[in-house]
Every structure is written in C-alpha cells, then in structure tokens.
C-alpha cells in the first residue's frame, strides 16, 4: 500500500517507522526543512518529502492521486482537517485518517467525511474514566459500528448471581455471556454453567445495556 502521512512530529515519525517496518510504501510530509532533514536520516530520504501537505501542488508532487490512504497527524486540527478534506474531494483518496487534538472537533471531522479520527486526549480520558467510575467493570473493546462492547466483569462475593445457572438469568436484550475465566481456566458457557465468586465474565453487550448488565451481576 502507498501511505502518505502529513506532519513530521513525533507521532508522524513513529508511525512512519512502524509502517515502513510492515513493508508499506510510506511518504512522510513535513514543511520544515530542518525537521525534514532529521527525519530523512532516520527514515531514509525516499520516505520524506519537504513541503506543505495542505497545498494542491505539493499534494500532486507527493502522489496523492495514487495514495491508498492519507493520514494527517500534525499538531493543528485545522491543518489535519483541510489535508483530509482535500485528499477526499480533490484526489479521491479512499481512506483518510486524522489525528484530532481537541476532542470536541471529532464531530466536524466526521461530518466532512473523514473516515477515522484518533484523539489522544479522548483515549487517555476514557481510560482514566473507566478506572475511576467503572470499578471492576472494564470495557475491553468497542465493536465499531454495532455499538456493541466486549466487557469484562469480575464477580465479587457480594454478587447476587453466585450459585445461579446462566439459564436462570434474564440478561439485558441482545446480551451474550461468551466466556468465563475461573481460576485461570477458560470455560465455555452453557445454560448449566453456574457463577462462582472470583469468576471473570466476558460478555458481548449493546453499549446502552452495559450499565444494566453491571447492575445485574455486580
């Protein structure tokens, strides 16, 4: 794949390194000449382009027309927005991704058609938020489009379901208990499986039912 990254700061450089390591053709665009020279010594000259990734002429030279993906990772949201939007509307790039520094900007990126945004602030905040408010209930992944989450919950000695069989529980709608970890042994779940203190429950649950599930098992 041909991947163009715009913004040669730390994020851009580390990302380029990883992608080159995976065998992709990568071009990292950086407008500051000195920084670009530094990047070239690390990544190799062929992977670095000196120029403003927001300019049509530079985009043409860099080969936006044949890019499989354009990733905008500068420290400025407005620059990332324009790079991504132009990649889409001027060059018809299939996948565009943006780093978003201010999480409140994620919405406008989505609305103008950026396929995916990544906000370090949001990520760190949600990790902290889970640690603080979710107690033993840890969201281990969000299944992108279905608003389904895989959640992990450890049954305490106070859980009302201890000793109950799975079949006797009325779970929230569209919720599935997929796995139980008991004393480092994984158990496939059947209707007969009963809950024990210390069980780690893995469940698939619609995002809006996660709290209901927690209330039921906690």
């Amino acid at each position: 794949m041909y991947l163009i990254l715009v913004g040669g700061g730390n994020v851009g450089m580390q990302l380029a390194k990883k992608l080159i390591g995976r065998g992709h053709e990568v071009l990292l665009m950086e407008k500051d000449g000195k920084q670009a020279t530094r990047l070239a010594t690390i990544l190799g000259e062929e992977s670095v382009f000196v120029g403003d990734g927001c300019e049509v002429a530079t985009q043409k030279e860099a080969g936006f027309n044949r890019a499989d993906a354009v990733v905008a990772v500068t420290g400025e949201d407005e620059d990332n927005l324009v790079v991504c939007q132009m990649a889409k509307v001027v060059w018809n790039v299939q996948r565009v991704l943006a780093r978003v520094n201010d999480p409140s900007h994620e919405e406008i990126f989505k609305k103008i058609g950026v396929d995916q945004t990544v906000s370090a602030t949001s990520l760190i905040f949600s990790l902290l938020d889970q640690q603080i408010t979710m107690d033993e209930f840890i969201q281990v992944g969000a299944l992108a489009k279905g608003n389904i989450e895989i959640v992990e919950l450890i049954l305490s000695g106070r859980s009302p379901v201890l000793g109950m069989a799975v079949r006797d529980l009325t779970l929230p709608p569209k919720t599935n208990i997929i796995y139980i970890l008991r004393k480092e042994q994984g158990l496939l779940v059947s209707g007969d499986t009963t809950f024990e203190e210390g069980d780690t429950i893995l469940a698939l649950v619609p995002s809006d039912q996660a709290d209901a599930l927690r209330g039921m098992l906690h």
Partner: protein, 150 residues
C-alpha cells in the same frame, strides 16, 4: 443583521467598522491587543478566543448569526471555522478568506464562497493599467489556468 467576524487583522477590522454602521457586529479574535485596530469609538463586540472552538462561537452568538466571515491569516483555520458555522449552525451567509488560489478553488467547487485577495488585487491592478472598467468580483476571483495544478 447579526454579523460574526473571525479574525481582527486589517481585513477584519475594516470589515467590522464598515458593517457596524448598520448591523450588530461581533468579532472573535485570539489576541486581545488587536482590539486597538478598531480605534476608540467602535460599536463592535469583541470575544477573545478561537473561531474553531465551538464554546467561543457560541459565546459570540453563532446560534443567531445571519452572516459569518472567516478572515484570519490562516487559510485552514478559516476553512475549518466556516464549515463549523455552515454544518453545525447553518449560518446563512458564509464568506471565507483563502489566500492560496488552488485551495480556494477546491473549496469553491464544494460550494463555499472563498475570497482570494491576491487574485482580486492582481485583476484590479491589471484593469487599472489598461483603463478597463472594474468588473464584478467573481470575474477577478478565478484561478488563472496557468496556476491550475490538476
């Protein structure tokens, strides 16, 4: 009309002073020192902050704005602010200053009203020299074929 202007440089100040004779004008500007550009007797409201920050836009009254001008010196800042005004707040009249002629053309193709000062100045100077009567703004605000990249 309620008019919102993002950017209090020379363009923003001139625009604000002219429009505030008949309209209610609010200016969003990052730098508090820029207020001096309005002189001592202006009637504009000034909100310190950025026009790409929605809290600032709301404080400046974007919800009831009839027109939004983005005239900072940053093309991308202007384009982002204008699209927030357009998409999230449905402001009726939106006009963006975009210095880069090619970038402006790309956004004109998307339906945005982009003013490119360099093109307008060049066209008016050309007409001045040849004693040609000045034309409508749209005839200046066009990317010359020689500058086309694609």
């Amino acid at each position: 009309m309620n008019i919102l202007i993002f950017g209090l440089g020379r363009t923003g100040a001139a625009l604000a002073l002219q429009l505030s004779r008949q309209h209610s004008v609010t200016i969003i500007e990052q730098n508090p020192d820029a207020v001096r550009r309005l002189g001592a007797k202006h009637t504009c409201n000034v909100v310190i902050g950025s026009g790409i920050d929605e809290d600032t836009l709301v404080r400046a009254g974007i919800a009831t704005a009839d027109a939004f001008f983005a005239v900072t010196r940053g093309d991308n800042t202007n384009l982002m602010a204008a699209q927030v005004a357009q998409i999230n707040y449905k402001v009726k009249h939106i006009c963006v200053r975009v210095a880069d002629p090619n970038r402006a053309q790309a956004y004109r193709n998307l339906g945005m009203t982009c003013i490119t000062p360099a093109l307008i100045i060049a066209g008016m100077m050309r007409d001045w020299l040849t004693d040609t009567p000045y034309e409508q703004i749209d005839s200046y605000n066009v990317l010359p074929a020689e500058m086309e990249v694609i």
